[in-house]
C-alpha cells in the first residue's frame, strides 16, 4: 500500500534519480519531471500528494512553477517542498502573498531529514 504519490521536479537527472529512488525505497509512488513545464503538466494530470521542486531550472523556474501551482484551483492545496541550491530564493518564495511552501531544504540533501519532513507534512495535511 503506497504512502502517497510524490512528484519530483528537478533539472538534474542524477538528483531526480536519487530522490525518486529514495522515496520509492520508503514506500512512496513517484513521478518525475526534468523541467518546470513538464512538472506542471504531470501535476495537472496526476494530482500528486506532494511535489518536491527545484528552483533554478531551464525553461520555467521553480518560482514560476510554485506561483502556477498556488494559483491553480485544483493544485493550490498540494504541499510543495522546495529543494534548492540557491538560498537567495528562499526570500523570493516566502515573500509571495500566496501560502508559503510547506517544506524547504537547501542542497545538499539530508535524506533522513527530508523523509521525516515529508511524512510530517503528509500526516498533517
Amino acid at each position: 500500500m503506497s504512502k502517497g504519490r510524490i512528484l519530483v521536479i528537478d533539472d538534474e537527472p542524477d538528483i531526480v534519480d536519487f530522490l525518486t529512488t529514495l522515496f520509492r525505497d520508503h514506500g512512496f509512488e513517484t513521478l518525475s519531471a526534468y523541467d518546470g513545464e513538464a512538472g506542471m503538466e504531470l501535476a495537472r494530470q496526476y494530482a500528486p500528494d506532494l511535489i518536491t521542486l527545484d528552483i533554478t531550472m531551464p525553461k520555467k523556474s521553480g518560482v514560476a512553477v510554485f506561483r502556477d501551482l498556488r494559483s491553480d484551483p485544483k493544485l493550490s492545496r498540494v504541499p510543495v517542498y522546495i529543494i534548492t541550491g540557491v538560498n537567495e530564493f528562499r526570500q523570493l518564495v516566502y515573500s509571495r502573498s500566496s501560502l508559503p511552501p510547506e517544506g524547504y531544504m537547501e542542497k545538499p540533501i539530508d535524506p533522513e531529514a527530508l523523509l521525516r519532513d515529508i511524512e510530517t507534512i503528509l500526516k498533517n495535511h
Binding site: 542524477d14 536519487f18 530522490l19 533554478t56 531551464p58 541550491g85 537547501e106 545538499p108 540533501i109
Partner: protein, 480 residues
C-alpha cells in the same frame, strides 16, 4: 599768453593758477631744455627726486653721466610730437619706481621748441599686478597642461577648441575635431552627453564613460563638465575634465569577480555534493539490498560528479592564477574523440544530433591535453545548452569538426541553437558573464578563452540571434 613761456618758467616768483594744478597733479612733471637740464619740476617730482634744478635728467633719474640711448624728450625736440616710453627710475631714497613717460613740446612765439615737458605716471603697482597676473596665468596654463587628467574645452557643436598635454598624448592632437569622434569614434553626438547638459543648464555634470584612445585601448573615465562664460554671462564653452579610472575599475571588477567566484563555487559545490549524496545513497542501499545494478548506477553518478568537481577546480585554478600549460604532444583526433564521447550521452539525452567530422590523418601538436579537453567540453556544452534552450526550431544539431593546416589545428563547433545578440557576443569571454541566469557560473568560456590564448591560439565567434553560433578555435601546431 603774451609773455614768452621760457621767461615765465625761469621767473618762478608769482604762483599762477595753473601752477597749483602743475604742483598738485599726481604725476611727476619736469620741464627740460635741449641739454636735458631740468628747468622746472612739480611738488610730487621734488618729493621723490629732490629739488635739483639745473641737474641733468639722466643724472637725477638714472644716475648716469650721459644721456640715455633712447630718450623720449630728445624725440620730441626732434619731431615736435608727443612720445611715450616706459622707464625705471631711482628715487632719492634709493627705491625704484616704474613710470610711463609722456613728453610734449613747449614752443616760443616763433614756434620754436624751447623746452619739453615730461609727465610721468607711477605704474609700479600696476607693473607689480601685471607680473602677478602673468605668473598666475602661467601657473594656470601649467596646471591645465600638466594636471594628470584629460582636459578639453569644447564649443556648442562639441568641437574641441583646446586640449591639454595628457589629452593630446592619449587621443592625439585633435583640436578642431568633434569630441564624440575623438573619444568614441562615433559620427554623431552621444546620448546623455554631460557637455550638452552643461551647455543647457550651466551646472556641473558628471558621468562615467568608456572611451577609446588613439592606440585603440579602452579607457574608463570619470567625466566632469563645467561651464565657461563670457563677459555677458553666456556659456560659450564647456570644459570637460576626465579622470582615467581604468585601473580602479579593473581592481573593482577583480574584487567583484572574487566575490562572485566564491558565490558561484559554493553554489556549484552544493549541487555536486547533492549528486555525490545521491550516488552514495544508491551504493549504500544497493549493497544492503545486494543489488549490483544499484551499486553500478551509484558509482556512475559518483564518477560523473567527481569529474565535474575536477573540472570546476581546474577552472578555478585557471582563474586564480595564470596556470602555464603542461606541454605534451597531443593527437588532435584522440583529443576530439575523447571530448565527443563525453558529449554523446548529453546529446542523446537532449535529443540533439551530434555530428562529428574529424579528419583521419592529423599530425600531433603541442598542447596541454587536459586543459584543451576541458576547453572543448566547455564550448561544446555551451552549444548544447544553446540548442536545448531554443524552443523555436524543431530539430537541433551540433557539428564538431577538426582539421589541420600547415601551421594550425582547427576545432569548429557549430550549432543551430538560440544564437547570440551583439552584446552577448562581445561579452562572451568576460568573467562571470553568463546568459544562462542561475544556470551558468560565467567561468566556462572565460577560462576556455584563457586556455586558448595560453596556447597562442584564438577563438573566433560568429553568431546571430535565433539562428545559431559558430566557434572556431585555432591552435598553433608548434608551441610558440
Amino acid at each position: 599768453m603774451s609773455e614768452p613761456l621760457a621767461l615765465k618758467i625761469q621767473e618762478e616768483t608769482v604762483p599762477l593758477p595753473y601752477e597749483v594744478l602743475f604742483n598738485e597733479v599726481p604725476c611727476y612733471i619736469s620741464i627740460q631744455d635741449r641739454e636735458y637740464r631740468i628747468l622746472k619740476t612739480n611738488r610730487r617730482f621734488r618729493e621723490s627726486f629732490g629739488s635739483k634744478q639745473g641737474s641733468y635728467c639722466y643724472q637725477i633719474y638714472k644716475d648716469r653721466q650721459e644721456k640715455c640711448p633712447v630718450c623720449p624728450v630728445e624725440k620730441t625736440f626732434i619731431d615736435g610730437q608727443s612720445h611715450m616710453s616706459e622707464e625705471t627710475w631711482t628715487r632719492q631714497d634709493g627705491s625704484l619706481v616704474q613710470v610711463i613717460v609722456y613728453t610734449t613740446p613747449i614752443y616760443n612765439d616763433e614756434h620754436e621748441i624751447i623746452a619739453v615737458m615730461e609727465m610721468s605716471t607711477d605704474i609700479t603697482e600696476v607693473k607689480h599686478l601685471q607680473t602677478k597676473l602673468r605668473a598666475s596665468q602661467e601657473r594656470l596654463a601649467y596646471l591645465f597642461e600638466e594636471v594628470p587628467c584629460y582636459i578639453s574645452i569644447q564649443d556648442k557643436n562639441f568641437r574641441i577648441v583646446r586640449a591639454n598635454r595628457k589629452f593630446k598624448e592619449d587621443f592625439g592632437d585633435q583640436v578642431g575635431d568633434y569630441c564624440f569622434s575623438v573619444y568614441k569614434h562615433r559620427d554623431e553626438e552621444c546620448l546623455n552627453c554631460p557637455v550638452a547638459a552643461t551647455f543647457s543648464d550651466g551646472q556641473v555634470h558628471t558621468s562615467e564613460e568608456v572611451v577609446t584612445s588613439k592606440s585603440g585601448e579602452s579607457i574608463h573615465v570619470l567625466v566632469s563638465t563645467a561651464p565657461i562664460r563670457n563677459a555677458h554671462g553666456e556659456i560659450t564653452r564647456v570644459m570637460e575634465m576626465s579622470t582615467n579610472i581604468t585601473e580602479i575599475r579593473r581592481l573593482q571588477s577583480q574584487l567583484e569577480s572574487l566575490g562572485m567566484l566564491v558565490g558561484s563555487i559554493s553554489h556549484g559545490i552544493k549541487g555536486l555534493l547533492t549528486g555525490l549524496d545521491g550516488g552514495a545513497y544508491f551504493m549504500k542501499s544497493g549493497l544492503e539490498k545486494d543489488e549490483m545494478e544499484r551499486v553500478r548506477k551509484g558509482w556512475a553518478i559518483m564518477e560523473r560528479n567527481i569529474s565535474k568537481i575536477r573540472s570546476m577546480v581546474l577552472d578555478v585554478l585557471y582563474y586564480a592564477k595564470d596556470r602555464e600549460p603542461v606541454w605534451e604532444s597531443v593527437q588532435p583526433r584522440e583529443l576530439a574523440e575523447s571530448v565527443a564521447k563525453i558529449l554523446d550521452s548529453k546529446a542523446e539525452k537532449l535529443g540533439i544530433a551530434f555530428r562529428k567530422n574529424l579528419e583521419e590523418e592529423m599530425r600531433p601538436f603541442d598542447g596541454d591535453a587536459k586543459a584543451l579537453h576541458s576547453m572543448l567540453v566547455n564550448v561544446l556544452e555551451n552549444s548544447f545548452d544553446a540548442c536545448r534552450t531554443d524552443k523555436v526550431k524543431p530539430d537541433h544539431a551540433v557539428h564538431f569538426r577538426v582539421w589541420e593546416t600547415m601551421e594550425h589545428v582547427f576545432f569548429e563547433i557549430q550549432d543551430n541553437g538560440i544564437g547570440m545578440d551583439q552584446e552577448t557576443r562581445e561579452k562572451l569571454f568576460c568573467m562571470f558573464f553568463s546568459s544562462k541566469g542561475m544556470e551558468g557560473t560565467g567561468l566556462g568560456l572565460f577560462v576556455a578563452n584563457k586556455i586558448v590564448t595560453k596556447h597562442g591560439g584564438k577563438i573566433s565567434v560568429e553568431s546571430s540571434l535565433g539562428k545559431g553560433s559558430r566557434f572556431l578555435i585555432r591552435i598553433p601546431i608548434t608551441k610558440q
